[in-house]
Symmetry: D2
Subunit: 334 residues, 4 copies
């Protein structure tokens, strides 16, 4: 996704010890349908530490897609060395001084960077993007939250196997099956949602004040998390009204023409059996979410329910970090 990026240039790649010193084309197992980009292919993989990066030139921004346990140690070391770290790892998402950013929703959270800089005494900082099942939900929630208010939210997910990583899920476990559990996922959805919809005030982000319940399930789909969402709104939300606020929604990313921003962050489907992951996940090059089946939620006096779909390995992974970095650049943090 960084290939031919108008603002960023790939200057170095780091990895774990077993890959260091190899060409990237040999170090990586490239499973994607597209070819490995030429520039990246020929790079020699470096050690994952600030020093090795600094030697390669004047680099300002590093992307982290590390496992959480490793990110917990590595990301602060890069921050300390003065780098901006755009991370998709979960380690610091809930850290009070770290923005958990979706540029359509909460660019005001970037004010946390000053707090973070002051606290750590360095120009470096960490910015994170949400979990792959959270971002899809929250993008669809934002206009509803702003217009009607939310009191309670129940979400049940049907998540793609790619969310578990290439070797994360044996085929014997999931072919012709459903696994009604993804370790840690429900907690992430329940906490991250409230932080993202929170407001920055007086040096901190105050999380949104409503209740969230998530049930997370794995299904035999490659890419695309599908979620059924039930909401108790504070004000009455008629389906047509909800359709209208979702349809017209754009945010900072669109208004400032971030290069990776989809034209429409929320795409609506009017057919009764959509969105479906296989045919709708690539909307907006995988950077949009797709919403359908907007209807009254009958268990609440003022409620709405719908289905939302997001591409977990594009917007829910690297794409989320890249659009975040674009916001950082636009706002002058790089």
């Amino acid at each position: 996704m960084l290939q031919d990026h108008p603002w960023f240039q790939l200057s170095a790649i780091t990895a774990s010890e077993s890959s260091v010193g190899k060409k990237y084309s040999r170090a990586s197992n490239w499973y994607l349908e597209s070819e490995i980009p030429k520039d990246a292919a020929d790079m020699t993989v470096l050690e994952t530490n600030p020093e090795s990066i600094k030697k390669t030139g004047d680099i300002k921004l590093v992307f982290s897609a590390l496992p959480s346990s490793i990110a917990r140690e590595v990301e602060p070391s890069f921050r300390k060395a003065g780098f901006a770290v755009a991370s998709n790892a979960s380690a610091y998402r809930m850290d009070e001084t770290v923005p958990l950013l979706i540029p359509e929703i909460n660019v005001d959270h970037l004010n946390l960077i000053d707090v973070q800089r002051r606290l750590n005494g360095t120009e470096g900082f960490i910015v994170t993007s949400p979990n792959c099942s959270t971002y899809a939900l929250v993008l669809a929630l934002k206009p509803i939250f702003d217009k009607f208010g939310i009191r309670r939210l129940i979400v049940s997910t049907m998540q793609a196997i790619s969310g578990a990583g290439y070797s994360g899920l044996p085929s014997m476990a999931i072919l012709e099956n459903v696994i009604p559990y993804i370790p840690g996922e429900e907690e992430k959805m329940e906490m991250e949602t409230l932080k993202i919809l929170g407001k920055f005030t007086e040096e901190e982000v105050k999380p949104a004040d409503f209740k969230v319940s998530a049930s997370c399930n794995r299904v035999p789909v490659y890419d695309g998390h599908t979620e059924t969402v039930s909401i108790e709104t504070i004000d009455d939300a008629k389906p047509e009204e909800v359709i209208n606020v979702l349809k017209d929604f754009t945010g900072y990313a669109q208004k400032n023409n971030l290069p990776s921003a989809p034209k429409k962050p929320i795409v609506l489907r009017s057919q009764p059996d959509r969105p479906q992951p296989r045919i709708d996940r690539d909307e907006g090059n995988g950077m949009s979410v797709v919403v359908g089946r907007i209807r009254r939620e009958p268990v609440f006096e003022t409620g709405i329910k719908f289905v939302v779909l997001g591409h977990n390995t594009i917007r829910g992974a690297a794409g989320g970090s890249i659009i975040n970095a674009e916001a950082l650049y636009k706002e002058g943090y790089l």
Copy 2:
């Protein structure tokens, strides 16, 4: 499932015009792994009307697995002719004089048969079994409803392709995909649940008084509907208490040793990633439901959530009708 049944004997098979006059072995497309039973194989398929059945001998009970639109006309004609009709069709499930029966839950509803007989002036009557996604939910609800009361319920389903019938769902539609819509299914779950949990009083069944919301999805699984369930209970329901009431639950079917009754109508799984359709659907020969992940529902002050799984083409189809017929026999209605 009727093969070697201790109480019932298969005496005739009827079907639509194109099959009439053929041996059943030739008329049917037998897709099951087991062999077609010898007795059934050699039967000549009759016309679907009371006269053709009456000619074959003294038959008291007919099973109906007709499409709803056909059941709407055919089932009353058999009732009128004096037959007991055990139906899995949806046509008369919500009829006020027709029991919607799960013998573990609401055998008192059989009192409706007298009302029905009186109204139609015939000994014949119709008894129905619930929709394949409803029965699994309601079996798991019954002990919770009795012990704690229910105020609100939100269920999201992941349903097997067999629920759509052998040719119902093209492979192009569902392989590596999710379809977040099943026509009519959500309405059925929302209405049938309340009727089944209702009480028979003064000539009618008063439906249970709480609110239900269903979101129904199709996933690439052969058999077994998996459902995530969120409940607001009236009294506080601690997970351990819920585990206890579910674990010990038995009903009329068990107490009266109905031949098709599973020993345990509700089987609990303690592993965090269970139940799974592929490995748990055959519990109790497909006649039990399997429940797991019982935990607090955080959006309600007094709430519980869990996962339930039922075998849609056994208990959710023919098996439901047969155990109902067994209750009819035991109660002297045949």
Copy 3:
């Protein structure tokens, strides 16, 4: 695929009675990930006969993707009315006067058009493209056939569900399964292969003179037919030699820059576990075939075996017709 075509312009769409008079956007069930092209969407569907087409203007070329039984009657009626018919239907593929064309292989067969015109006394003619499992095989065979000669060929296929049409294969039939039979497919592969590799001489195409045996199987893959091929060559064919003749192969389509021609009609994979349909089917925009695992065939003294993959719903369907029409245009037949 005709959208923005440099040589052709879509002027009319016809279909069966039930669609006539509707806008194409309403008449069609558009299941593709891409949007329905604007021009096509707004066209009114016409009756499938030469008169309705003639009324819409000066149309020279019609594409036929009809079921074989209908093509058998309709295609000659268009030919009689003077149209060039580029067909992907099987009805006339084996007709002695009809070219069965792959523009990389047998453009000399277009000489049959003169024979066909003379015989039918009309400027109109039919040109066909091969069956979706045949074309992939034959493209890979051509350079081997020319260089080493072929005495015997055994092919076993693993074919995608899309080959059966959108509603052709119930999900209950193929999920987690293999169906070792596709009606008529083996005969098509065995006959079409020999015709395509035949030579035009003295007013007719003499089929290639070797023996072919096909075993055709359906597997749960959306798109892409994978085939294992065993060949007895006439001259000794070392794997490295075969790699070389395949790697360098181009044909008429490439030399004449047909707009839909892939740069490389045969793409080689050197990894031992490739080609795989899910990750290799889109090579050359689905217009190339992908070959791998080239190795000695031990049962023959002079033999070779390999795996070939082709995209059945692109090159194996509409794409095959379009590149054929491009050859017709280039050769002055339109």
Copy 4:
């Protein structure tokens, strides 16, 4: 499969270090639909060496399902200690003194045990069962080989994911895909087939003298390897004749009523689209092979082709070892 076995009693279970000392129920990840048998569940897992086994009592027979590299060292150590080793590992299948046994086919190979005993100076010995894709092929070949002779054989397989072990194949690798390569599998099929069909004469097994070529593919199926087979026979083999020799085939296992022997080792299907793994793999409790589509092989003057299916994780794994051990018992080797 050993539960309630009439001849054998489970006395001990061994495993790798990480499991030693635990109850089997805790050491194993039990993924099967059936419950873990009570006796086995409560056993304490022992170290995998002859001493630990000897301590538990008078044990004569050990089953080995070890990875090949470990079997290479462990199995001889048990042999040396005097145990009969019934192995499903590949390590010693091609060893000249080790029987590669299918009790329907080559019980005469048990004579190798005497050779083996003499050579190693111990009563202990190793007997092996074939690879999961080999056994299905060879069972179907045996009657054809005996009646018509075989000159050449080409087989292309579509193998289930369970053949790679529970965690062997990531879901990302195989969902909606085919992998046309299984490391080492083709070599095993080509060599084992000839050894099994060989004759014991003068202290050794002379392999059958024909040529075999295998192409091995992985498909998204849980259990059941489906294989298309093309044979050049020595004598002319009409399809009806082949049907007859297959239909009537029984072997030593049936004649001697081995407890695990299926009544019919080869089950024929007459429907054109059978056998299919999902619906036919459980024939004979997974101990039979299922053959269909028997027809002329057109590339050979005297040839036959067909489809064969075997259950890779029953007869192709533990089931193969157990029926072998039953033959050992019956023949007095235990």
